[in-house]
Symmetry: C2
Subunit: 404 residues, 2 copies
């Protein structure tokens, strides 16, 4: 397997993608993206667990229900989430998909739709329609901007990559693009991710692989603990590689596909956290010695979402008391006298009490941009990894000023 | 009932209290407080729900178990939480109480103990012992500093008050002091509060009143969503007023006592939030139309703890989308299309969609220091009030720099 850092959703044969500016964002930055496939794709989606679901989520779910084996592409806008927009929002999301189908000459219910941005404003449909025509021109002229760029809200960087691997000797690819930044939280919170592949995979196997991968990647990251009504992850499989169809989870073909998807999703998830609003640190929290994966991830989440832990990390302060605190209120029946905590390779806490290593030494491990924090509960054999970032002045600035 | 704003725990006949500096805090600020009663008191306590419990919590629980009708006072230090300090911590907390008993001439197991401050350092017992002698001198000389001041950590103000009311024609008082600031969270997180009264109340009725009041006050506030291993609330009742004993929850005497305690605790709870680390706003979140009190408080907590909501409030930005989001992930099965949201008296959201009131008008309601945010779920007849504050640059500064 090979990672292609310059690749994206359109590095996969049979797919193309483009981003344009259509005027949703006042800044004039790209805000409309279209990804298309020359074939009908088997498709799977995973969506936000928020009770409040944005119109594009509800509409895309309906489209997938009508036929997850005939999807041709996706249209996505940033700058406006089309969430909390009532019945008008639903009509707009459906029209956005329908207009894309019409403009690109596809049948009904073959285009999915995603939106991200401000909540509570209806979409400027005229601009979106004009933008779709602009995308068509761009495709014809073989020029235009990056699809990943059109997904961005407070992101500072585009997030994309591709991986190349073999299925029974046939080379296949997975392309990927995502947006993240604020409101990232376990359980699929404000992020959009899109995968394309020329592997041939049945809708059931695609769904299984996407769910398992999401559980271990996008559901294991957190920027601020909030989660949004818009989160969606899609994967479209065109089969254009000619590799044999994967229609069973048993055997090496599924395993190869799953592993490659996991690598791509892990890279995107880490990139999202590293670009968290105002983040100065990428923190991996490894919880070991838990009685179950669920317990390990509850502990990791509590620590990752603690504002006190996150501000201490920003201050490069090895304040492990706050970590012990967060473990204590995680809801997991831990034994306080068994907890070990490590900053990088240095043990700060042994059996719930100071290890004797000085604060200065521990602090030296927090100066790097990437930090590994290990918590050993010493209760069992299960573990997990979770990625988060620190809370900085810039987090407050960005979020106090975003709307107005 | 009358509120005495200049009153504190020692405004109640039969009680005295004093705070001194004993050198735990490097700053030289007061860090050791003692409150004593000339009589044996009926006493009740409510403690942190964190699985990690600090040594003073474990020791005070034991002392209360040995006899909740013979308590003579409490000794408290700030600057060091005596948490995560292993067996040495337990020995130190027990010795701190025992030393106070010895110095003030009391029997064993009559003094309670509380600590707040940094986690993971053992107490400087020599300084505490010397400090206790200093307190005894202060009491003899009838001079010394404020008890409430000796509780403070990152608090910017002392928090105390007293209330005066009648029980069956006999005047009685409740005195109160607390510390709060960082790490405040529902479910009794890092805060200490102490009540004194010269009413005569049975231990069972004291416990009942304190639990009910805590449920509606200290458990309904949040600064940053974290909770500490040290939180404790105590009430000591001396009976010195000569008012008849309250030993049943039925009847007007219990009602009068409960109401007065509720008023005192509400004032302290609001003061704690208003003095939250870096807070520039005191925000009351009223949730109405819920199916149960529990649902209402879950929704209020999710909104109150959302970093995105809190930074928007700091920015005086009526970004109700973030409020709807938080309601959506609260875990309560709300109906998104029924949600109404008000900033002060202005309705921003009607049935889950924009009400038509402009952002500018809504923003005008966020310029005050005290803000009321009302959420009507329109699902039932239950409601709650919850108090929180905003997230400012100063919150990050204070918490990034506290330790080092």
């Amino acid at each position: 397997m090979e990672i292609i850092e310059t690749g994206s959703v359109d590095s996969v044969p049979s797919f193309r993608a483009l981003g344009v500016s259509c005027g949703i964002k006042q800044s004039g930055e790209p805000d409309l993206g279209v990804m298309l496939c020359e074939r009908s794709c088997n498709t799977a989606g995973v969506f936000t667990t928020n009770r409040v679901q944005a119109a594009p989520v509800l509409v895309s779910k309906k489209i997938l229900e009508r036929g997850s084996d005939r999807i041709k592409g996706i249209v996505v806008n940033s700058g406006n989430a089309n969430a909390c927009t009532g019945k008008q929002g639903i009509r707009d999301a459906a029209e956005m998909a329908a207009e894309a189908e019409r403009i690109f000459g596809f049948e009904k219910s073959t285009m999915l739709v995603m939106s991200t941005g401000l909540i509570g404003k209806t979409l400027p449909m005229d601009r979106i329609k004009a933008g779709l025509l602009k995308v068509r021109e761009g495709f014809n002229a073989q020029k235009g901007g990056s699809f990943a760029r059109a997904l961005m809200t407070t992101d500072t960087k585009e997030k994309f990559l591709a991986v190349r691997f073999d299925i029974q000797g046939v080379p296949v690819r997975i392309g990927a693009a995502a947006k993240g930044s604020g409101m990232i939280h376990p359980n699929m919170a404000t992020m959009l991710a899109l995968f394309t592949t020329d592997a041939a995979v049945s809708p059931a196997c695609l769904t299984l692989a996407l769910r398992r991968v999401t559980e271990r990647t996008f559901n294991m990251i957190s920027v601020d603990g909030d989660c949004s009504p818009n989160d969606s992850v899609f994967i479209l499989a065109s089969g254009a590689s000619g590799a044999p169809l994967i229609d069973s989870e048993r055997g090496p073909a599924f395993e190869a596909f799953y592993s490659a998807l996991l690598v791509a999703a892990t890279e995107l998830a880490r990139a999202i956290v590293a670009d968290g609003e105002g983040a100065t640190k990428l923190v991996e929290i490894r919880v070991k010695g838990a009685r179950s994966f669920n317990s390990a991830s509850k502990v990791a989440r509590a620590v990752a979402n603690s504002p006190l832990v996150k501000t201490a990390l920003f201050g490069e302060d090895p304040n492990w008391g706050r970590i012990v605190c967060a473990i204590g209120y995680s809801g997991v029946p831990v034994d306080p006298d068994k907890i070990d905590i490590f900053f990088g390779d240095l043990q700060a806490v042994k059996q719930g009490a100071p290890s004797g290593v000085s604060d200065e030494e521990c602090a030296s491990r927090l100066k790097e941009r990437e930090i590994v924090l290990t918590i050993d509960l010493n209760q069992g054999g299960c573990e997990c990894s979770f990625w988060t970032c620190d809370f900085s002045y810039d987090y407050v600035r960005i979020n106090a000023e975003y709307h107005t």
